[in-house]
Symmetry: none
Subunit: 142 residues, 4 copies
Amino acid sequence: MITLTMAQEIISAALGHARASTMPPMTVAVLDAGGHLIAFAREDRSSLLREKIARGKAMGALNMGVGSRSLVERAEGHPHFFGAITQLAEGELVPVPGGVLVRDEAGEIIGAVGVSGAVPDADEQCAIVGIRSQGLVADAGA
Amino acid sequence: MITLTMAQEIISAALGHARASTMPPMTVAVLDAGGHLIAFAREDRSSLLREKIARGKAMGALNMGVGSRSLVERAEGHPHFFGAITQLAEGELVPVPGGVLVRDEAGEIIGAVGVSGAVPDADEQCAIVGIRSQGLVADAGA
Amino acid sequence: MITLTMAQEIISAALGHARASTMPPMTVAVLDAGGHLIAFAREDRSSLLREKIARGKAMGALNMGVGSRSLVERAEGHPHFFGAITQLAEGELVPVPGGVLVRDEAGEIIGAVGVSGAVPDADEQCAIVGIRSQGLVADAGA
Amino acid sequence: MITLTMAQEIISAALGHARASTMPPMTVAVLDAGGHLIAFAREDRSSLLREKIARGKAMGALNMGVGSRSLVERAEGHPHFFGAITQLAEGELVPVPGGVLVRDEAGEIIGAVGVSGAVPDADEQCAIVGIRSQGLVADAGA
C-alpha cells in the first residue's frame, strides 16, 4: 500500500520537479488502489478545477486499469462508447496524459497519481518523477 | 424468470469461457427484466469501473429492448439523439457489444447479461456462452 | 485481499445459513476494502431495494471503519450529525446490524459483507457465518 | 491567503498533535476562503468517509461563516431549517466540532481546517493546534 508518508513524498518530488522547470502552478493528487484520496497539494494560484482534473486523471487510470495516456486513443477511436462510460464514471475518466498508475514490485496496482497544471506531457512527467522517488513503478499508459 | 441459481450458472459458464481463452480479468452482471441485479462477479484485478460498464451494457440493452451491439449503429447515426438519451439513462446505455438480452422460449425478455474486461466481441461471446448454458436464448443485437 | 472465489464462498455459506433457518429471501453483497463490489447474489423474490440496503450496510461499515451495528447508537445519539454524514455518504451509511467488516489475521480491514432480507440480527448472523467459513475475522460492531 | 506551504505545515502540526496523543488515524483538510482544497492528508487506516467528513466540517464552517461547533446548537434548535439547508449544501454542513475557521490579524476569514477521526473535541483541538502553528487565528465557534 501507499502510506501517507510515501504519498507526501511523491507530492514533494513531483512539485520539486515542477519548480526545477518553468511550469505554471501545479496540483497533485495521490489515490489508493480503491480510488480514495491519501494526500493532495494545490500550489498557489492553481485554478479552481485543478483538483477535479488531477483526481479525474488518476481515477480514470484506476477505473480502466491503464495509465490515462492510454485513454486518449480510446476516446478518439470510440467517442460514443467513451462518452457513455465517462458519464458512468461521473467524469472521472479524463483522457489525457497525467494520470499514472502506481505499481509495486510484483506489478500489482497500489494506487495512482494525477497531476494537472502544465501541458499534459509535463504533468505526466511530474507524476512519474514523484512515483519513482519512492522506488515504485510508474505506469503512464502508452 | 432468471432464478439466482441460473444467474450464478450463467456467470460460471461466462467466466469459464474467459478462462479457457486468454482474456484479461472479467466482470459479469446478470440483471432481471426490471434491470435489477441478480448476481455479479468481478474477477481479481478487474479494474474499478468494470461493474458500471458491465451493468451499463446490460441495462442499455433492457433500456432500448435490443442487444447492445445494436446500439453502436444508432449512436453513430444519431449522435445528438443518442447523447440526449444517454444522459436520460444516466450513462446506462453503453453502445458497444457485450450487453446481451436473455429471452425465453416464447421470445419474451426475461433479463440481460453484461460483460466487460476484454475486447467487445469477446465480452459478448462470454455473455452468449453463459446464457446458452442455461438453455436460454441470447439476443446480442446486430 | 478477498478473491472472487472467497467472495463467492462467503455468499454460499451466508445463504446456506439462511436456507437452513426459516429466513425470507436474502440479498448478500461482498465489497473489497475500497468499497467496490466483488460478488453479489439476490435470492428469488428478494425485493427491489435489497441490493442498495445490503451494499449500504457494508459500505457504511467501511465508511466509518466499524461494523454497522456500531452505527445504531451513533445515529440515535447524534441525529443531526448522522443526517449530515448520511447525505455525504449518499445514503451508504445504513445504521442497522448486517454490515460486517472482514479483517485478516493481522486485524487489517480487507472488505465488508452486507446482508439484507430478514431481521437485522439474522442478517448479521448470515454475514458472520459467511466470513468465518473462509477463516477470516468478522467484525460486526457492538 | 493560506499558501500551500502554510497549509502543509498546518497539517503537519495537526497530525503531530494527534500522534503526541493517543488518537486513532486522522484525516485533515485545509480549504481556502472559496472552499477549494489546498492540502489534504489521510493517515494510514483512516476510514473511507473521512475525507468527506473533514471537508464537510470545514466547508460547513465556511458555508455559514462560523466554526462548526456553532452549528450544533443551530441544528438542535431548528432541525427542519437545518435539514433543508444541509440538503442545499449537499451535506457539507456537518454540525459537530472540528471545522475551524482560519482568520488573519484583521479578523478576515482566509480559509478553514476540517479534521475527522477521533472524538469531536479532539478533532477540533488538532485543527486549532495546526492553525495556531502558523500564527493565524482559529475560530472554532461556540
